[in-house]
Structure formats: structure tokens, C-alpha cells
Amino acid sequence: MADGRITLDELTSWLQEFARLIAEHRSELCELDAAIGDGDHGTNMDRGMQAVVGNLGDGTVGDVLKQAGMTLVSTVGGASGPLYGTFFLRFATAAGGGSELDPTQFASAMRAGLEGIVLRGKAEAGDKTMFDALAPAVQALEAGVAGDFAATLRAAADAADKGRDATIEMLARKGRASYLGERSIGHQDPGATSAALLVSAAATTLG
């Protein structure tokens, strides 16, 4: 990040790094999903993110992130497609028509994306979903926008990892895992795991 601004190139790198991490963790995401869901989270997200990086357009920050969101909606399926798709669509709308973002704008766009997920998935804290990783990360971003942004991003990634780990002890209340009731306890949520990768990718590429 130069001069306290996040450029379009850096945001593109963020998407590419997220795609790389998803591909790298594809089997792990599928195994986590097989334990409490239907076992295809890694496959579906990998298919979607490969389509996103193969389909990166030009234009404003809003244009590029909107394209990513639309691609995910069209290619992922299941619940993850609408949830990640809505995240990037809301992020894009909040990010607007510029060619770069400052840290405050980035944090606001992340908040808008998170709110989109809540609207779409109706998840609350503690339901054992991607919300449990993403919400603490957004809070960490908002708390640190005035400081060293690289350090703030690392704090956000740490918060996402902690939130992801906390899903292990939670009882699932949303999605297919919720049919397991008590039997969902003891398993890490696959959606929280991929969401932590999204924040980790931001720390690597935007700091």
C-alpha cells in the first residue's frame, strides 16, 4: 500500500491470493464440510474463485468487485454462492467508482459486505457460520483504521482465525449442519474457515 491508499491492482491481488488459498485448502474445506454438511465447500469455492480470477475486468474498484460477486453467484451454487456473492456485491457498492480506497473506505466496504451476508443468511453471532470469522475481523479493521494499516490487517486476520477456531465449540443453527444439533459441536465450520482465508489474503496483499 502506497501513500495510505489501496490501489485497484492491490485489490486484484487480494482476489488472486484468496483464490490461491482456496485452491491450496480445497481438500481441507471439503473434509470440514463432509463432517457437518455435504462435503463440497472446497470444490464449489475453488470453482467459483478460479472463475473470478479468470474473469477479472477493468474499470473502477466497484466494477471489478461487482464482477467478482456476480461471477461467484453464477458459479458457486449452494449457500456459499449467494453469501460470498452478496458480500462482494455489497462491498462493490460501498467501494464506489474510484480507482483506489483508503483504509477507512476499505473497512466500510468490508462492513457493507458483512451486512450483506447477514441480510442474505440471517446469521447471528454464535450460529457457527462464516459470520463468526468475518465479524471480528471487520471490528478489528474499524478499530485500527487510524493506525498502521499493515498491522491493522494482521490484527483482523488474527481476529478471523480466532473466530474460526471458536466455531469448533459452537452448536450449528444455520444451514445443513443445523440438522445435526448437538452432533455439530466439535467440528470447525467450513464457511468460517474460508472466510478467515479471505481476511488472511487481505493481510498478505493489502498491507
Binding site: 453464477s74 451454487g77 454462492g81 443453527r173
Partner: protein, 333 residues
């Protein structure tokens, strides 16, 4: 895994080739994986579309045709279709009277149909109403879960709402009929074996030789309990008891009794089970005014069955009896 396939990745697209070849009266959009009735859109008729993950055939593609669905959107096996498909189908079947989306209550299906309805509203101006089916009484705690799953009632709803649409009734009335069906129908299923998803190559869950899963979902979701395998007369009780007490069904009610095969159980066993169901209904003073027996909403190769009871009024029964001409349900034509 022993399956009659070529490549697991091509199962849905190649099955659609077969549907197209076998049913020239239907139209298949291979790019969007949509099955249309050949004469859609019908001017002035409410369009009915449904869809979901594949692997439940004949639901939904086998129910496309006069008197039932105008289009079915096919997802990958056990994976919801994406909004682009439902948006495309919505535009293609709109005959000016709006479109009803019939959605089974699964998290992915609900979200993808919801996004499609939003896109339809902003991009096309086609009026869309969605009705969600959630008839599986095996899910006991609806408040803290994704809610009851949509299963057997979906078949009956597509037939009855399809008949209402065929009569030229407006979207609101067709949606009301659909909601009435969902509100008066209850289902529960049992698995004797797991299914095997082609892309996974191995059974979705482990079930011992002498065990059964009571309350199983149509994707192999866990049910209420796992028990030692029992005779059909006891299984009929295990399935009917929670159904009867939930609505509740009462002495004097007339019902459509639907015994559904999950894919791997032969028709002779389904009829045997129907006999047990009819006996229990008789004991309770409930009259099965119509029956449906066969594999209509399946779970790939899962052995097992589900029972659905739908309490009907004379009007719902009249719509049930109306002509239908689809690959999987056909009468009165």
C-alpha cells in the same frame, strides 16, 4: 461405486441429453440446464417454475408439462441451481400473468431463488411470488435449525398448483393454493441404505446392515433416530405417528396418501408399505381418498421410503384430479 454413467462430472448434462431425446414434447436449454414444456410461455397463464439439486428425479424435470410445471432448473447433484438459471426460466415462462417459484426449504435453494426473484424484479419487471415447502416433520426444532425440509409435499403441490395455473387463475390465487397444500401436508422418511453421490464415489453416510435411519432427509441428512431394522408394519407406525400428531390429522379427514420410494426400493415393497399405511389410516378413521405410490422424489440410489399425507378439501381434490401430462405424472389426457 457401480453406476450407469460415463464421467461423474457429466452426469447432469448427459442426463439432460437423454431427457431431450426421450421427450420431444419438452424443450431443454443445455447451457442453463433448464427443462421447459414445449409450448412455454403460455399467454395469460401463470408460469410455474421449480428446481433444485439433481438426484431427486423425477422431481422436478419429470413434472414439466401441461397441468404441472412450465420449467425446472437443474443444479448439480444435491447442489442448488444458481440465480442465473431461475432468472432465465422466469423470463422464458412468463406469459404476462407472472411466475410462481416453488422452492424446497434448504438454505442454498432458498438463497439462490431469493436472489433470482430480486434480479427478476430489477431486470425484467416480471411479477414473481415464491412459495417454500417445508413438510418434513423429522426436523423437530425449527427455531434453532434451518427449519423443516421440503420433501414429498413438493410433488403434490406442483400438481395441484399446476392445475390451478392451467385454469387461468391469477398469480395470487395460484400462490394461495400452493401455500394451502404446504400447510396441510406432512411427511417423514426412512433410509435402509445411504445414497452415493457420483462425484464423491462413496456412500454419504454409514448405516449398518441391520440398521435404519428414521427421519432421513433426501440428501442423507440425519433423521430423528437410528434403530435396528424393523418389519414394515412397525416402520409404517414410526413414520405415520409423528405425521398424524403434527398437523394433526383427525378422524373424518380425507387425505391424499403418498408412499414415495427414495430410489433404491422396489415398487413391491412400496405397495407393501402402502398397505400398512392404509391399515393405520383405517384404524384412525382417516380416509385416503387418493393414493400415489412410486419413486417421485428420490435420493439417488438410497433404499428407503417416505410417507406424505395431504389433507384435502373438495377443491384441492378437484385440482389433483385435473388432467396432467408430464413424463412422470400423466392422467386425464
Amino acid at each position: 461405486m457401480k453406476k450407469l454413467i460415463n464421467d461423474p462430472a457429466d452426469v447432469v448434462s448427459e442426463a439432460l441429453r437423454g431427457v431431450e431425446a426421450a421427450h420431444p414434447e419438452l424443450r431443454v436449454d443445455h447451457a442453463h440446464k433448464i427443462i421447459y414444456r414445449g409450448d412455454a410461455p403460455r399467454p395469460g397463464k401463470v408460469g410455474l417454475i421449480s428446481g433444485g439439486g439433481s438426484g431427486h428425479e423425477p422431481l422436478h424435470g419429470g413434472f414439466v408439462g401441461p397441468g404441472m410445471l412450465d420449467a425446472a432448473c437443474c443444479g448439480e447433484v444435491f447442489t442448488s441451481p444458481v440465480p442465473d438459471q431461475m432468472l432465465e426460466a422466469t423470463k422464458a415462462v412468463d406469459g404476462g400473468a407472472g411466475v410462481l417459484h416453488i422452492v424446497k426449504n434448504y438454505t442454498g435453494d432458498v438463497m439462490n431463488f431469493e436472489m433470482a426473484a430480486e434480479l427478476a424484479a430489477t431486470e425484467t419487471g416480471v411479477e414473481v411470488v415464491s412459495v417454500v415447502t417445508d413438510d418434513d416433520v423429522a426436523v423437530q426444532d425449527s427455531t434453532w435449525t434451518a427449519g423443516r425440509r421440503g420433501v414429498g409435499v413438493t410433488v403434490l403441490l406442483e400438481k395441484i398448483a399446476g392445475a390451478a395455473a392451467e385454469e387461468g387463475r391469477p398469480l395470487k390465487e395460484v400462490a394461495d393454493v400452493a401455500r394451502e397444500v404446504n400447510a396441510n401436508g406432512r411427511s417423514m422418511g426412512i433410509a435402509l441404505t445411504s445414497c452415493t453421490v457420483p462425484a464423491n464415489g462413496k456412500p454419504t453416510f454409514e448405516l449398518g446392515e441391520t440398521e435404519m435411519e428414521v427421519g432421513v432427509g433426501i440428501h442423507g441428512e440425519p433423521g430423528r433416530s437410528r434403530r435396528p431394522l424393523a418389519p414394515a408394519r412397525e416402520i409404517a407406525d414410526l413414520l405415520l405417528e409423528p405425521i398424524l400428531e403434527d398437523l394433526p390429522f383427525r378422524r373424518g379427514d380425507g387425505v391424499i396418501a403418498f408412499v414415495n420410494g427414495l430410489g433404491g426400493t422396489p415398487l413391491i415393497e412400496l405397495y407393501l408399505l402402502y398397505g400398512e399405511v392404509a391399515r393405520i389410516l383405517g384404524d384412525r378413521g382417516i380416509t385416503p381418498v387418493r393414493s400415489l405410490v412410486g419413486p417421485y422424489i428420490t435420493s439417488l440410489d438410497m433404499a428407503g421410503a417416505s410417507v406424505t399425507l395431504l389433507r384435502v378439501t373438495d377443491e384441492l381434490l378437484r385440482l389433483w384430479d385435473a388432467p396432467v401430462n408430464t413424463p412422470a405424472l400423466r392422467w386425464g389426457v
